[in-house]
């Protein structure tokens, strides 16, 4: 065994990235920037019919072709980034943060609190997600904050279940018992002893949930209770142009590519996070 002195550089502490992770991060950042500056980049107003032909091909004038109404797809994809990236990221963060926090509390407190919360959220899980979305939007009307809150509420119980199962496992480890025997408070146990040790799986779960949320969001838009026309998120763009698939229209391909690039890069990034964050328990 060597006891040589090691200088704690970021790489040695395990905070370095590999290239796959960097590519993932770069694509996420690219879409995040587009979400902010999209309206200024768009060559045409996204809701305006600019071409008399429908499902037009790629051309110098319309880089990604035109949709079923003759609207410019490039402009619509650039505007859609704002809805898809923004809404999906905000709701996945809300769902996971809430679920993980409640899950850790339930896992550590245990007893009747755990039972009550778990059954309550299980029951909530039983409501079909689109139906739940319909009822909420019918009751309070569609707006972006309402969409974010609805999607977060739909995915919170799953995240809670996942985090609770992990927290219960970590909670029985001796180091948590030692901290408890030391007299540590509840917040310390949860934040310092348990949270770092469940972080890796929780992040992987976040990546998966993000993809689901993009899909449900497009489902809601299809039903007319998501993003309101003339604006559309990427999922809605795919849905409204789906007939173009048999015509080989780029109108359906490019929004799909956008969704794929975002969801794949989110998962690439999370799977290749610095080992120090991802595999703390190893």
């Amino acid at each position: 065994m060597s006891l040589s002195l090691r200088i704690p550089t970021p790489a040695r502490l395990g905070y370095s990235f590999n290239w796959t992770g960097r590519i993932g991060l770069a694509i996420i950042l690219f879409w995040a920037v587009i979400a902010f500056i999209g309206p200024w980049l768009a060559p045409y107003p996204p809701g305006e019919m600019v071409d008399w032909d429908y499902f037009g091909g790629m051309s110098g004038q319309y880089w990604m072709g035109t949709d079923y109404l003759g609207r410019d797809i490039l402009s619509r994809v650039l505007m859609g980034a704002r809805y898809t990236v923004g809404i999906a990221l905000a709701s996945v963060v809300l769902a996971c943060a809430g679920g993980v926090l409640l899950g850790m509390i339930a896992g550590v407190v245990g007893g009747w609190f755990d039972t009550l919360l778990s059954r309550l959220l299980d029951a909530f899980n039983g409501i079909p997600s689109l139906l739940f979305g319909l009822v909420v939007v019918a009751a309070v009307g569609s707006s972006i904050p309402v969409l974010i809150a609805t999607l977060a509420a739909i995915y919170l119980p799953g995240s809670y279940r996942f985090a609770r199962a992990l927290a219960v496992n970590v909670n029985t480890m001796d180091f948590v018992t030692v901290a408890r025997a030391r007299g540590e408070g509840f917040a310390y146990l949860i934040l310092r002893e348990i949270f770092p040790n469940i972080l890796g799986p929780v992040l992987a779960d976040l990546g998966l949930r993000f993809v689901f949320i993009v899909l449900v969001l497009s489902g809601l838009s299809f039903l007319g209770i998501g993003v309101q026309p003339p604006h559309a998120d990427w999922g809605a763009l795919v849905r409204e142009n789906i007939e173009g698939l048999s015509l080989g229209a780029p109108a359906v391909v490019f929004p799909s590519v956008a969704i794929a690039s975002l969801t794949i890069s989110v998962n690439l990034f999370i799977d290749n996070l610095p080992t120090r964050i991802r595999d703390r328990s190893e």
């Binding site: 065994m1 002195l5 018992t177 540590e184 310092r192 190893e282």
Partner: protein, 548 residues
């Protein structure tokens, strides 16, 4: 000399680390095994003993590979043949008894189906013949109800029985070589005797050769004809069991033997009053009804520990030793009885104890792997109790962390590492340093040396003694290993099924009067080849106290 059954020549096994570096695990090992001979491979963890044993089957663990040398088994060249040929050898020419029988059995299949599996895979004999043979083996291995035990599931038999059943599984194909990989390490001492006896009897009767992997010299002394001492993947010394035990030539062998000799404990000069007094303590697990939990473990435990003295608690697994430590620490609140610490009563539940009361009595757990948070650096682990109990911060805290590491003989640079980057002994030292950070008066040590190698464990015991002299600590030392307890304790409690059956002075353990303490103490293997043969235990006593 007859031709050797197994001959290993210049065996080299290497592995590639995660960072792509080549490391050598076994560096040029050569030895022979004669037919019918039992050879023991002994050494500390990481010495390569299991790696060598597995390589005799042509098998290496994932990531390792045989990089050089030859292994010949009978007329087969194990290293030269293809994997499919090797698979044909396994079970018929060479077989394996794993350390953990509980993990080796499929919990969802009946025992008989698993024992005769080898005969089915190699198409050795018809099923009814195989079952008859298995029953003969069960009988030879002294298993109870040999005719019906095969119909049970693995969870329906005890640990010692399961270990003997896994031996039956290995022996059914009549191999010429059996590899025993620490088969008794996880067993209680009284069970270990039974298993060793059964192995010895079967091996004596048959002409099979054996390789016995162990870190315990006393166990090996009972069963092996020859001993090979390994360290760092190289043979240090090779000789007959008698020669290794009585006239070792290599310094490392001597070190191993020395670690076995208990250094008599010199008690502190003057006890300074009672530090811990436990009276009529009852504790248990499960749902509490009418003030009593469903599973009652501790049953009316009382004792007293003087300041500066050490109390040992011995007993088999399930005797309630660890529960006692947990009840005293308040982790598992006792439902009846009193814990008095330095003259004041402690609340049974630690949540109602003051910070200072918690600080003065610290608990150290057996498995340093799970007792250290894998997400925190050693420095952060040691710094937390300093901030929590003493409010130390900044540079003063850093200085104290280095001081603590120095106290447990670890270099200061270690504070930047994560627990996963430390060896087992280093982890246990950090574990101890964390308890010391609180500046306690009493440390409850729950089997802290049990998971360590003999030499490392001896070093930890020396460290405990040194710390006691310097810091005037008292220890409550829980162990199933008698020589450890003898080496550090002044008084010993013998526990059985949650009760203290006897309290003895540590020096007078051989004069125990209670039958169970006598049985337990006589079951500890001695460094003497004739010990197991000469050991006579009252069968009635065994039947009375052992869970068969």
């Amino acid at each position: 000399m007859t031709e050797a059954l197994v001959s290993v020549r210049d065996l080299r096994i290497g592995a590639v680390t995660d960072s792509g570096r080549q490391v050598q695990i076994i560096g040029g090992v050569s030895f022979d095994i004669a037919p019918g001979e039992i050879v023991a491979l002994i050494g500390e963890s990481g010495s390569g003993k299991t790696t060598i044993a597995l390589s005799l089957m042509g098998h290496t663990r994932t990531g390792c590979a045989i990089t050089g040398g030859t292994i010949r088994l009978g007329r087969h060249d194990v290293t030269g043949m293809r994997e499919a040929r090797r698979a044909a050898l396994r079970g018929t020419e060479v077989s394996y008894v794993p350390q953990s029988a509980a993990a080796a059995f499929n919990p969802s299949k009946r025992i008989m189906d698993q024992v005769v599996e080898v005969t089915e895979i190699h198409r050795l004999m018809p099923r009814d013949q195989a079952e008859a043979k298995a029953r003969d083996l069960f009988r030879a291995l002294a298993l109870p109800n040999p005719d019906t035990i095969g119909a049970r599931y693995p969870h329906q038999v005890s640990g010692g029985q399961l270990q003997r059943l896994s031996a039956a599984m290995a022996l059914i194909g009549d191999p010429s070589l059996v590899i025993f990989d620490e088969p008794t390490t996880a067993l209680d001492v009284t069970t270990q005797i039974e298993v060793l006896r059964a192995f010895r009897a079967v091996m004596d009767k048959s002409a099979m050769a054996g390789v016995y992997v162990s870190h315990d010299l006393a166990v090996v002394a009972q069963i092996a004809d020859r001993i090979i001492v390994l360290k760092g993947g190289e043979i240090q010394e090779e000789g007959t069991t008698e020669q290794i035990l009585n006239a070792p030539t290599h310094p490392y062998t001597r070190q191993l033997l020395d670690a076995f000799e208990p250094v008599p404990h010199v008690p502190a000069a003057s006890p300074g009053g009672t530090i811990l007094e436990v009276r009529g303590l009852f504790a248990g697990y499960g749902a509490v009804r009418n003030g009593e939990p469903a599973a009652k473990i501790l049953d009316d435990v009382s004792f007293r520990l003087e300041r500066g003295r050490n109390l040992g608690v011995i007993g088999e697994s399930g005797s309630g030793k660890s529960t006692l430590a947990r009840a005293i620490a308040g982790i598992l609140p006792a439902y009846r009885g009193k814990v008095r610490f330095d003259g004041t009563d402690l609340h049974p539940d630690l949540a109602h104890r003051s910070k200072d009361q918690l600080r003065r009595a610290q608990i150290v757990f057996q498995l340093a792997d799970t007792a250290l948070n894998p997400a925190q650096s050693v420095g952060a682990i040691l710094a937390r109790p300093l901030t929590f109990y003493h409010g130390t911060k900044g540079a003063a805290r850093d200085r104290r962390v280095i001081e603590l590491l120095d106290m447990v003989h670890l270099p200061a640079a270690l504070r930047h590492r994560l627990p996963s980057e430390l060896s087992g002994g280093q982890k246990q030292r950090v574990n101890l340093a964390r308890a010391l950070a609180a500046e306690p008066e009493l440390i409850l040590c729950d089997e802290i040396t049990s998971a360590l190698d003999t030499v490392v464990a001896a070093a930890i015991l020396d460290l405990l003694k040194e710390l006691q002299r310097e810091l005037h600590l008292s220890y409550m030392f829980i162990s199933h290993d008698l020589s450890t307890v003898e080496a550090i304790c002044d008084e010993v409690l013998v526990m059985l099924k949650g009760k203290v059956v006897e309290a003895l002075p540590a020096t007078g353990m051989r004069d125990a009067t209670h039958p169970y303490s006598r049985l337990l103490i006589s079951s500890i293997p001695q460094l003497d080849t004739g010990w197991l043969k000469g050991l006579e235990q009252d069968p009635e006593l065994m039947a009375q106290f052992m869970r068969r």
